[in-house]
Structures are given as C-alpha cells and as structure tokens.
C-alpha cells in the first residue's frame, strides 16, 4: 500500500472513533448496545448538567451507567429505567421531559412566542402596505412614528 494511503487510512480510523461512554460492559448483541447508548443520550448528567450520561466522565454518571446497564440486563424496559431515575433525581434527568401541565411552558412556550412574532409581523406588514398606499396619497405620518 502506498504511504499516503496508509496515512489517510490512519486519519480515517481516528476520525471514526465513536464518542461513546467507555466502560467495559457486556451486551447480548449490537441492538442491545445501541439501545443502551440511545438511552444514555436521553438522560442528563446531574453533576455536569449540560452533558448527557453518555458524554459525562463524572463520578455519578459512571455509577448511573452501570446501574442502567444492570437494569437492562435484568430485563427492565427503557420506560421503567427512566421512571427509576425520575423517582430519585426528578424530571430534570430527562432531556425530553414528559408533556404535562408543569412542562407545557417548556414544551410550547417557544412556539407561542414564535406565533406571537409571526402575528406581529403580519400585522405590521399589512399596516405598512396600507401605510405605503396612504403615503403615496401624500400621508407619511405612520413612517414618522417608527
């Protein structure tokens, strides 16, 4: 193999190193391992709050990963494992908290603001169009106000 190709292959190898939590854990098959990684990505580390359990090196995250793995081996479902964590650490551990009255603002607040902005924009554009017609008619009062 030509030397350049070797370097490229080496670079690709490093580029593809999966950024996943590294604990020597045993999985029955590839699907189970993917399920584990997917679950970790949806759970927040309590210590380094802007990292998921999959990313975090913190002490508590390692312990929680082991516990999640143990519970998966014991045959518990994703929902059961999430419920276990919520019971202890609160809704905060979930990156996608359940939709209920206390999380409505969190889920729908941004869309409400977006809708409000859209309404304001439409109203403003309509007004400006009529304003322009009015201005063409020699009345520029509206523009002066803004």
């Amino acid at each position: 193999m030509n030397v350049n190709l070797r370097w490229i292959a080496l670079a690709l190898l490093f580029a593809c190193t999966p950024m996943v939590a590294i604990e020597p854990l045993q999985f029955a098959d590839r699907a189970e391992e993917q399920r584990y990684q997917q679950l970790l990505r949806e759970l927040r580390c309590l210590q380094c709050q802007n990292q998921s359990l999959a990313d975090s090196d913190s002490n508590v995250a390692g312990g929680l990963r082991q516990e999640i793995h143990r519970q998966m081996q014991a045959g518990r479902s994703d929902d059961e494992i999430k419920a276990f964590l919520v019971e202890r650490y609160g809704e905060f551990v979930l990156y996608r908290p359940e939709i209920k009255s206390s999380t409505w603002l969190l889920w729908f607040g941004p869309f409400v603001i977006l809708a409000g902005g859209a309404v304001a924009l439409v109203v403003h554009l309509r007004k400006r169009r009529t304003g322009t017609t009015a201005a063409a008619a020699g009345n520029a009062r509206d523009e002066e106000d803004w």
């Binding site: 002490n59 508590v60 202890r88 609160g90 106000d145 803004w146």
Partner: protein, 175 residues
C-alpha cells in the same frame, strides 16, 4: 406619539425582567423529589467495622443528619469542622454515608480531619447514593425519627444552614 410605538419597549421590558430574574439563580440547586417522602430502604456495612450492618430500620428512633462524604471530595473538608462542632456542642446525631470511596482512604481521611460520625454507611459502589438521588458530594439529608426525608442540602453546609434549617428540623422546631 402613537401608543403602538410603545409595544417594542413593553416587549423589551418583559424579556429583560424574565432574563434578569434568572441571574444569580444557581442551576445546580434542583428541587428534590425525595423531600417529604420516606427515605429509601438501605443496608450497608459500617465503614469502621464491616461486621456491623446498618439499615434504615436500625437507624430509626431519633432524627439524624445523613451526610454524604468521601475522601476525594474537597468541599467535604469545608463543612467537616462545622459538623464536628455541632456534634460536640449541640448533640447533633450525624450519620455518614461514605460514598464511592476506598475503605483505607476514608479511614485515613477520618484520622486526619476527625471523626464526628456515630454511624458510617459504607457505599463503595454508590448504589445507596443513587437511591437517595445523590448527584455529587457533599450532600446532606435530614431524616426524621420515623425515617422520612425532611430536607436535602446540596453542597457544603454552613453555620447559617445549620442554624436556620438543619438544627430546627432535627429539634422539631419550625425552621
């Protein structure tokens, strides 16, 4: 002036108030879901005498402060002398939860900084910590005589925390 021109200003003020109110809030202080509920069941060997096993039931009878500590935890050293003083001077019942630690390190730490604990639960795997929703050491829990969690404190306890919250709860006064 057209009153509608005030709308952007009103929106600006609303957003400013919203953002301003968030300044200074500590995002690491999370409402605990466990407060007001019975403490989880646990069973752990005594750090200083592994032959003895403590459980939730064996610790019932008198309210206590459950203090999560570890030899690797620098913040624990800040609250440690304060807790020791309350044990000495005010009869605080202090139970330790030695969390994710090595026995030898923990014992050395206690020799070095003093040992005010009446009981110490040894939790090297951190599983008891998970049941208590512990995210980082130090954390402390006020446990009532009948085993309910009355209060959870995240981070080092100060004299003010002890006076204003922990001691009143333990002594059955209003905090």
């Amino acid at each position: 002036m057209n009153p509608r021109a005030a709308i952007p200003l009103i929106v600006f003020i609303a957003i400013a108030v919203l953002l301003w109110s968030g300044i200074g809030k500590d995002p690491t202080v999370l409402p605990s879901v466990l407060v007001g509920r019975p403490a989880p069941e646990f069973s752990a060997p005594e750090l200083r005498d592994p032959g003895v096993v403590h459980s939730k039931a064996s610790l019932l009878g008198k309210p206590y402060l459950l203090n999560v500590f570890a030899s690797w935890c620098p913040t624990c050293r800040i609250e440690h002398p304060i807790l020791a003083r309350y044990v000495r001077e005010r009869g605080l019942r202090l139970v330790g939860l030695n969390w994710k630690d090595e026995t030898a390190d923990a014992l050395q730490w206690l020799r070095q900084f003093g040992d005010p604990y009446s009981e110490i639960l040894y939790d090297p795997t951190g599983l008891i910590g998970i049941d208590f929703g512990v995210a980082a050491a130090p954390e402390s829990f006020v446990i009532s005589a009948d085993g309910a969690i009355l209060y959870k404190h995240i981070g080092a306890l100060s004299v003010a925390d002890m006076e204003n919250t922990v001691m009143p709860l333990l002594e059955g006064r209003q905090p």
